[in-house]
Structures are given as C-alpha cells and as structure tokens.
C-alpha cells in the first residue's frame, strides 16, 4: 500500500484554516469511493477501520478493497448499500482541516442535499464519465446555485472506464458549461479523475497527460474562501443577554456579517434606539475589533432595551425590515405545505409566527421549468411570499447567507418543515395575495380624459398608423442599436415616432424599481401603459425592454386594441451577447455584483409566436431596419 506521508502536522495550528464542502452525485457514480480515497490518502483512516473494510470487501468477493464501505454509517445503509442521510467526515492536510457533508444523490433526499449545502464553501459534483451529464448532475448544480455555494468542482469520475480519453472528458465539460450558464455559479473547476485508483485525487495522473490542471486535493487546499464572506454589512443578532452582576450587561451573539469596533455607533432593531459599542468581550480578553463568524459579547454605552431576537446594526447600513417578503422555499417535511396554518419562522435568533401567503410557482429541479403550484410536498422547491406576525430584519440571501436564511417549524409536530432563502421585500402586503402578474390598475374618482382629438385624426395628419413595436431580448442582443437606427430612419421619413428605452425609464418613471421579478413586472406595466398613451396619439412607439417574462409581454399586448401591439423578438445567441457585453453587465453579473440578471441568474422566456424576429447575430443593422420597414408596409401601417 503506497500511502503518502502524513502531513497533518506540517502547518502550525495557528495557520491552518477550515474548508467545509459537500459532495453529491448519483447512486453509483463513486462518491463514497472518492471520499474514502481522500480520507485514505490523507492518512485519516485507521488500520482497524481499514482492516474491517478489507474483511467485508473480501467477504463480498470484491477484487479491491472497497473504500466506499468506510462511509456507510447506519445498519440500514449497509443492508441497502446506499447512503441515506447526511454524514459528516473529517480530514486534515498540511494546510487545512476539511469538513465533508456527504449527501445522497437520489431524488427523494433533496432535503439532505440542501442541508449539507447550507454550510458549504464548496461543492463537488461527481459525474460518471461513461454516462456524462445526467439529469441528477443538473439538479445538483441547480441546488448549489440556489444555496449560493461559492465554488463548484465538477469531478468527472471513472476516467479509467473510458480509457482516459480527453474527448469524452471535453464533451462532458462543454455540456456542463452550457448548462451552468443558466445558473448562478461563478467559480467552476473541472477535474478528470478516477477515485478507484486515485488518479488526480491527491496525485497527478500520468495516464491523463493531456490534463494540465490541479489535483482535486490541491484545489480543495488552495481555493480562496475568505473573500466569500460578507465583511461589509454589520449584523449582530442578539442570542442571549449576559447579566452576571449588576455592573455588567453584555449582549452575546455571533457576528453574522461585517465588523464592529468599540466606539462605533449602533442601532438596535426593532426599537430604533441607538448607542455606541463600549467593549467587545471574550473569555480571552477584550477585542479591538470583532468580525463575521466570531462569537462575542458586546457591551453598550447606554442602557437600551435589547433582547434575544433583536439585532444590532450600523446606522448607515440598515437591513430591510418587513412583514412580507419573497423567498425560495425548499419543503422538507412529509406533511405538505398548508397555507391555512401558521408556522414558526426561525430567522437569525428570532422566532415569529408566519404564514405562507402566496405560492407563486414550483421549480421542476430537473428541467428548471416553473410550474404553477398551490402547495409544496416533500423535496419540492419554489417561490412564495411569506407574511410574518412581526417585522423581520433581513438581507437578500444572495448578499448575506446569515440574515437571508430561515427555517419554518411546524408548530404541531415541531419538525423542521422548510428551509427558505429570502429574495427581497414583497412589494406591498396588499399585493401578496395577487397573482404575481401585472394587473391593470384604475384609480378611483378619476375620469378618463380622452377623445379630444381622435386617434384616427392623429393618424391622418401623421400619414401613418399608430403602432407599438415591442422589442424583447437579452441584454446585449442589440435591441437599442436596431431601435435607434429605426427611429432615426422613421423620423427622417416624417413619422411621428417615440422611443421608450429600458435604461431611460429606469432613470425617472421607474426609478424606484429594482430587478426582482415583481419589480420587473411593475416596470413593464408602467411602460406598457405609457406606450399605450402615445399609441393613442398616433405614434409609432418603439419599446426596447429585456422583458423576460412572457406573462408581462402578454399583459402589454392585452391592454391595447387588437393589431396595435407588435412583438419583435431581437434574437441573438446568449454567448454572443455575453461577448458583446456593451455595458459590462454580464461581467458584473457573473462576478455576483448584479443579482437577478437575465441570462445569468434570472431566466428569459423567449416569445412563442412573435410578429417579427430580428436575428442580430446573423444580419447587419441596416438590413434589419429594412426588414422592419417592410413589415410596417406589408401590414398597412405606413406607405
């Protein structure tokens, strides 16, 4: 047995860091073997454990010692030969201590995978080189993206069974890369390996000389994780108040994010009272600064009302406060979601009564499609609006895992019923019971002022019909470029023309809106109503909006008379849009600086039956403008 020399002692304890990672894969793709291999080669398996496994392997008639047997924790699993729960494993190398959350890959245990992923800095997805990218590999990718694990390693395993072929590996890498563009994952590493023989696990394989990258272990040892933590937004949920004697009142808790120093001003939520930090107390003495992850006790200059569940923050950096928020929910209980009953919501150190106010859709984790849903059953995931009895102080999960996550507890069974990730504030409590789609609003006591000059009269004077040309497509697809050229040309031809551009309206008309699905919907609603006003005065209104949701475009079409709305699909391959990236937005989105970016972290629903398709990656701008003019002529909108 060629075990590498033990290295656990090489770095002093004071310099060794910790990496938590999770592993997922399908039932037979060698996950347990890989972990067994990592433990074995880092010398974290003992002789007596190894001997027991060797005995069992021999009894079963295996040729080699089956390292996977090291991991089967429970008797039921040993009988079934599969892993059925999250198991935690530990090993150390010279640089790091590792905690592995080993989670099963089969469908009915999505909840375990989400559990293991919730604390992970990195995820390993195993793909069997013989079978390539399976539905399960995609599902795991989706969950990793959902849980915002910062780093992903795709381990293409069983390379020995495909004769160490590079083309097989390359094809898998390409396919997974294509798929992962739909996800919100920013750091993916691919490694070809054989867990059975150890190639590229801890040692470079001489059987795959074409692979120039690092081994799996080296990747795990060197991936940089400190930058993944949030040291900007100070959030301190109070766990308990320490009052050992009358002269000491300390607020114990773990700094959820950010940093704090004595003398800095803090605000207590929900009271809104402010004070300054007097000291940061620990058993080992007072600290000059506390940062995210440290369990400390803070004392304050003033006696302010503060207890468990409250939060200390900085006055110039406040979390969101609301009694209704949008969230992604993963249902974990056999008992399905019941919208008529309340749950206990645990968020940071706070517990409040909560209802699931609105189920917006369920996500099919295999296809990533959204489907309508009324409730969730075990292992189902989807979007909901949560309403709480008291205000909750939170940040979006993407910005802050600690203050953006929560669990729902069933008050009758006490079971943990669901895990949730907050997306953002729900727009208004009154809206959350709505359908989630744009609704035509009509204010009361307002008389519609119309008919001063009839639309037909406008059109007669303009010499053309009014129309709304709604250009939809990815950012960077060329909507604005084509639209500007078109508007210039129409103006030169004497047309009454109006352009509504996505960026422009967000400066004023829609300056109060963000990019959550709900805000996007509202953005489109306002624009559509505006376009309609101009249309009624005989304008050709050229609208350029990503408008990714079919339902929103349908709304715009629906508020106008038949024949007025013309959907123009500005079609361009996403990869081309990325490369163009005229505003640098893809780069930012991929770096995680922009949340909810269409094509990166937010979906685009292509038009099913648009009036006009402009393929900007195939045709020049002037050709496309001619195409539009031809369309307008053919439909009798202008001469």
């Amino acid at each position: 047995m060629d075990r590498p020399l033990d290295t656990a002692a090489a770095l002093p304890d004071a310099e060794k860091s910790l990496l938590r990672f999770t592993t997922s894969g399908s039932v037979d793709d060698g996950k347990s073997t890989l972990i067994g291999r990592l433990l074995y080669e880092t010398n974290c398996i003992f002789e007596d454990q190894y001997a027991a496994v060797a005995r069992t392997s021999e009894k079963r008639g295996n040729e080699r010692v089956d390292l996977a047997l090291l991991l089967d924790g429970l008797a039921a699993e040993r009988e079934q030969g599969i892993t059925i729960d999250v198991a935690y494993r530990y090993f150390q190398t010279a640089r790091r201590k590792f905690i592995i959350a080993d989670t099963p890959g089969h469908e009915q245990y999505t909840r375990n995978m989400v559990t293991g992923a919730s604390t992970a800095d990195l995820a390993i997805i195993l793909i069997d080189a013989r079978y390539g990218v399976l539905t399960q590999s995609k599902r795991h990718g989706f969950l990793i993206s959902l849980l915002q694990i910062p780093h992903l390693v795709v381990a293409v395993n069983k390379m020995d069974l495909v004769e160490w072929r590079q083309d097989t590996y390359d094809a898998i890498v390409r396919e997974y890369q294509d798929f992962s563009q739909k996800l919100d994952i920013h750091d993916i590493t691919f490694i070809p390996l054989s867990a059975l023989d150890g190639d590229n696990v801890t040692r470079r394989s001489d059987r795959m000389p074409w692979y120039q990258g690092q081994t799996l272990l080296h990747t795990l040892e060197t991936v940089h994780v400190a930058a993944d933590r949030n040291f900007i937004d100070f959030r301190f949920p109070v766990q308990t108040v320490l009052r050992p004697h009358l002269d000491f009142r300390g607020f114990a808790g773990t700094v959820a994010s950010g940093t704090i120093r004595p003398g800095e001003e803090v605000v207590a939520l929900p009271s809104g009272r402010s004070s300054r930090v007097r000291s940061v107390e620990t058993f080992d003495g007072q600290l000059a600064e506390a940062f995210a992850g440290q369990a400390v006790a803070l004392t304050l200059e003033d006696e302010i009302d503060l207890s468990r569940g409250d939060m200390l923050v900085r006055p110039n950096n406040l979390p969101q406060v609301a009694t209704a928020f949008d969230a992604t929910l993963c249902w974990m209980d056999q008992e399905p979601l019941n919208r008529r009953t309340h749950y206990v919501l645990k968020h940071t150190t706070n517990k409040v009564k909560a209802f699931v106010g609105d189920v917006r859709y369920r996500i099919d984790v295999n296809t990533l499609h959204r489907e309508p849903a009324e409730t969730f059953a075990l292992n189902e995931i989807g979007r909901v609006t949560i309403r709480t009895a008291l205000p909750v102080f939170f940040d979006p999960y993407k910005a802050n895992r600690a203050t953006g996550s929560f669990i729902l507890i069933d008050p009758v069974t006490n079971r943990t019923a669901a895990a949730g990730m907050i997306r953002g504030i729900a727009r208004e409590v009154g809206d959350v019971t709505g359908s989630g789609q744009a609704v035509s609003h009509r204010s009361q006591n307002v008389q519609w002022e119309g008919g001063l000059i009839a639309q037909a009269d406008w059109e007669k004077r303009n010499g053309h019909k009014g129309a709304v040309l709604w250009c939809t497509g990815y950012s960077g697809s060329g909507k604005s470029t084509v639209a500007k050229a078109l508007v210039r040309e129409l103006f030169a031809a004497g047309c009454q023309v109006m352009m509504l551009d996505g960026d422009n309206v967000r400066h004023g008309l829609c300056g109060d809106l963000g990019f959550s699905d709900r805000d996007r919907t509202e953005n489109i609603r306002r624009v559509a109503e505006t376009a309609k006003l101009f249309y009624e005065q005989g304008n050709i209104v050229v609208c350029t909006f990503i408008s990714p949701f079919r339902a929103d475009r349908g709304f715009a079409r629906g508020i106008m008379p038949a024949g007025a709305f013309h959907e123009v699909f500005v079609k361009c391959d996403l990869e081309v849009c990325r490369r163009r990236d005229p505003k640098g937005l893809y780069r930012k989105a991929e770096a995680g600086e922009i949340a909810e970016f269409t094509g990166v972290s937010s979906p685009y629903e292509a038009p099913v039956d648009p009036e006009l398709v402009l393929e900007t990656d195939l045709h020049a701008v002037d050709e496309l403008v001619r195409l539009v003019r031809g369309y307008l002529r053919d439909h009798g909108l202008m001469d």
């Binding site: 198991a87 620990t282 968020h347």
Partner: protein, 308 residues
C-alpha cells in the same frame, strides 16, 4: 482591511459557543453531561467562554457507574471545585447493587443499565430538557450522522431515519413537554482538534491520558491494567496469571469504565507527544473500548436505546 480569518480551531470554538448559547436561550432546564474525559474538559472550557464573564448557567451531571478509575473521581471533584461549577452525580443504584458487570451481563446489558438507564432516569428525575454531551462525529460511524440537536422521544430513543435537518446555524429547538434534546457542541471536532485545543488553551486533563509504566496483562491486543484486576474480573473468569503480568509504558487514549477500557503502549508524557502520537496513529480512538466491539452496529443500537 485586516485579515479576517479564523483558524480551524477558532472556527470550531465559535461554532460550539454559538450552539451553547442557543441552548441556554431556547431551553428551560439544560444540563451538561460531564464524563471527566478530555472531551468533557474541552466542553467545560467552551462553556466558560460562552458565558464569560458570568458562570455557565447550568449544572454538570456525571452518570457514574462506580467503575471509573480512582484518578477520574479525584480529578472530577477537584476540577469542578476549581471552576466553581455545580455537579450532580447520579448512579443506577439498583443495578450497581445487583452487581452489574460486563463479565456477568455482557457488555451491552451492563452499559444499558448503568449508563443508558442511569442517564434516562437522571434526566427525567431532574426534568432536564436539554443535555450537552461531548460526543464527536468522528468517533464512530453512526455518530457521523448525528445532528447538533438530537431530539429524543419520551423514552430517550434516537430515530436515525427521522432526524431534523439542520441548515445554516439555525437550530430547531422546539420540543414537546417530556421530550428532551441531546446537544453535541463538539460535533465537528476530531480527536486531533481536541488535543490541539487542549494544548492551545492549557486545559487540565486526567493524568491517565499520559504514559507511565503500568502493570498490565495483554488481553487480545489490549492492555488491561492489573491494579484494578478485582474490578476488571470480579469472579476470576478471565484469569490473570501472575506470570503474564508485565510492566509497560502505556496510557489511556480514551477513558470509560475500568472493565471496558484498556491502555495502549505509549511513551507520550506531554501533550505535544500525545499530539504526535495521534497524528501518527494507525488505529482508531475507540480501539481500546471493549464496548464498541461486540457487534458491527453496536454503537448505533445503543444510541437508538438512548445512549449518547
């Protein structure tokens, strides 16, 4: 910006402190089980840290079987007095009086009565709704699947297939009256972490962990201390022929009841040497524990019945 990084020991320490504070905030009547071993010693230090500058707001409880090493009882009483903690000692007197012993009942039944039964009775006698234990996931393979908060039914039983998922650092502490939760703040610690932390923090431990020449008999690869041969073999069933008694430099890698705890050959007389030994160890920590060896699933079976 400074270097906002935690070492792996700091990381584990912060996590354990967070868990202890959650328990104190969420439960009415917690207790810390104190077994006098190295893990208990680390857990005590973490409890001191979590509630500094006050004392930790729960008592310690030792489930005594009467079979512990004299050095453990001495250490226990002195150390508890030193840190000013309140100690409860509970024993299953009925079965101790009946002479429960591994050589008479078998390992499993002896443990079941003296440890598991003793613990369950003590928890209900005092009405504790949460009990900290020093078990670690790396000790044994069924422990690898334990949660930080392990919910037990009214009979103290563990159902491994029906555990609550634990996400982020959000622990579900909701239970019904009569139920209790075992909490394992050291879940993510390994044997090596424990020793490194003992070194870093200068935590006092029972001297039995250090090597010294001890008179032993070799019994199936395990060194059985002869000083306690009456306790190991009260009925003379095993037989300790004087001729086989040898003096060997040895130490105890983990501590339990005398009849079920053997020593290992070792020259480690300092913490540094113990750490070197643990790093180089070729055999697992509980190899000297006779109680785990009876069947392949014996720990899981004990846990289902209410053991830690």
């Amino acid at each position: 910006m400074g270097s906002y990084t935690l070492t792996h020991l700091q990381h584990l320490e912060q996590e354990s402190i967070h868990v202890m504070r959650e328990v104190v905030a969420e439960f009415k009547n917690p207790v810390m089980l104190y077994s006098v071993g190295k893990d208990s010693s680390v857990m005590l230090r973490l409890a001191q840290k979590a509630f500094h500058p006050g004392r930790f707001p729960f008592p310690l409880m030792h489930i005594d079987t009467g079979y512990k090493f004299p050095a453990m009882y001495e250490f226990r009483d002195r150390h508890v007095a030193d840190i000013g903690a309140r100690l409860i000692v509970e024993r299953n007197e009925e079965w101790i009086a009946k002479g429960a012993h591994p050589t008479r009942l078998g390992n499993d039944k002896c443990c079941q009565q003296l440890k598991t039964r003793g613990l369950l009775d003590a928890l209900s006698k005092h009405g504790f709704d949460a009990a900290f234990g020093g078990a670690r996931r790396d000790e044994e393979k069924s422990r690898a699947k334990e949660r930080f908060f392990s919910v037990r039914d009214r009979l103290g039983q563990w159902d491994p297939k029906n555990q609550r998922p634990e996400l982020w650092s959000l622990y579900n502490a909701n239970i019904d009256d009569g139920e209790n939760v075992r909490v394992f703040p050291l879940s993510n610690w390994t044997e090596l972490d424990v020793w490194q932390y003992i070194r870093q923090e200068s935590i006092p431990i029972v001297p039995l962990y250090f090597a010294q020449p001890r008179r032993v008999v070799r019994l199936g690869g395990i060194l059985v201390p002869c000083d306690h041969r009456d306790i190991v073999d009260p009925d003379g069933k095993l037989g300790f022929p004087d001729a086989e008694i040898v003096e060997v430099s040895c130490r105890f890698r983990s501590l339990g009841c005398i009849p079920c705890t053997g020593a290992i050959e070792s020259d480690a007389v300092t913490i540094d040497q113990i750490i070197e030994e643990v790093i180089a160890a070729r055999r697992s920590e509980r190899e000297n524990r006779l109680i785990d060896l009876t069947s392949d699933s014996s720990m899981e079976q004990k846990k289902r019945e209410g053991y830690f």
